[in-house]
Amino acid sequence: MAAEPETTPLNRRRGADPWYVRYLLVGLTLGIVGLLVLVPLVNVFSQALANGVGAYVRNLFADPDTRHAVFLTLMVAPVAVALNVVFGVAAAWAIARFRFPGRAVLVTLIDLPFSVSPVVAGLLFVLLFGGQTAVGAWLRDHGYQVIFAPPALVLATAFVTFPFVARELIPVLEAVGPEEELAARSLGASGWQLFWKITVPNIKWGLLYGVILCNARAMGEFGAVYVVSGRIEGQTDTMPLRVQKLWEGSDNPAAFALASVLTLLALVTLVLKVLIEPKVRADKEPAAKAG
């Protein structure tokens, strides 16, 4: 029943626009996508494989600093994502279920990392934990290093990727509504049971979608991580930092080999995103689900 009003105007438009407008627009779109997306994408892989598959594998696995960069990214990104799942679910829950003073401010604050430059985000942590500050000096004197060490990489990554989970969950939680939760509560469910048995099943696709986006961004994050990493080779270089370092050292095939891994990751993310999208949309439209 929803299909009809959607297709009719589309058909009418198709006839109304002159052919050259259609061809021009389609051509322009394809041209831009080709130039900005397809050509660089193909270029990354062709440069990475320029010296053959053997050299490609060697570039990825022979250098201990490159291996460590891959390892570090696989450690840092999941922890940052996990932090954001906890904070994101809590924030989305609070915003969708309660009306409280400062709620509008909170909604705005969640989006802050989107509008703050990642470099500034990194500097925030340097200003907080740097050697010139009281907190930083205290930690240093007690033998713990936050800045220029993996903990800061996690903090900076988590800050930059914070909005992904919360942003994804707020509309899902609002669409689902509190009715099922209220019913469970009236039947005597504890808070914990309510969360795991009612809320989580309702939001799981939205949550997964947020986690995937969040993870992709976390693994690719450069600016904030660059500022807080201290660029110590084989110790605080994540994959994107290592790509830049290899490129600056004029080791282009190795830089592109590592870049191709990041690109593959992006492509996998894209496929997962396409697979999950319909389920998320169904969650956001409870009426359609009921009908």
Partner: protein, 339 residues
Amino acid sequence: MWGRVLLRFAAVYVAAAAVWVAFAGFARNEQLLNVACDPTRELWRDVNAAFADYYERQHGVRPFVRQSHGGSGSQARSVIDGLPADVISLALWTDTDAVRKSGLLDAGWETRYPNRSLPYTSTIVFVVRKGNPKGVRDWADLARPDVEVITPSPKTSGNGKWSFLAMWGSVVWRGGTDAEARAFVTAAYRRVPVLDAAARGATMTFAQKNIGDVHLTWENEAHLEVKESGGALEIVYPPVSVLAEPHVAVVDANVRRKNTAAVADAYVEFLYTKEAQELIARHYHRPTDPAVFARHRGLFPELRLERATTLVRSGTWDDVQKTFFAEGAIFDQIQAAGR
């Protein structure tokens, strides 16, 4: 159910990663960290390996040396902000001294090691297209209207600062006045089509994008650039240039806290040994040991090298910084006049 197994696995994995990250924060006092500027990456990799062997032979323990690279100024900033460097090897005296001003370096760092704490020096030379089609031989050629010059910004790059000082000095050291120097440098910067922020960007502009006729850069970087070009580029030595002085210093406050003073000291002392000086020469840095330098005479064509501090009356680096590169100082005035 597969979903449940996958979820369990993810939970265990994330928990393990979290524990690893938390433990990775504990200070790594057992290793040395050399925080250096960009153009010395290959040099330090070789020197660090050689030092590990050298120290193991003498003490029976193998030290572990890490290196960090970035722009000279931002590296100084990171050390001040708490990057646990034991040794700093930065491009400019002002950057090293900024670390002293923050209290991490003891006063008198410059006289602690031989040759005013300079294990090697370098200079700024020209890289031109094969066959030098524009006939660039001397600094005056940079102001010719048919010559395009590639050099990074002196505001953000150590390379850019040394290049600026070399241009200015090329007039003053040969008897010119400050006014003549200013006129020449202004004309030369008008010939710069793209003022990149960092040295590597300038190299890309010149070598890969094929923009410009002459590229001003460190002597060692020039050799790398020419080697990589596969014969498309060549080096031209001007008759006079600046004596670039990248000091190496021990970060006293950090080595005291980390208990690495003895190893850090051994590391810096090692740089002045014949073995390290040989490595330095092979990476096209000019070793300060006269015997080693004499042996590699062939690598380093003779040219007149002058210290940058002779360009200001007081002869201090603070004055060089204030006169040329501070906000609203000569470089800013030249840029404003060029627009």
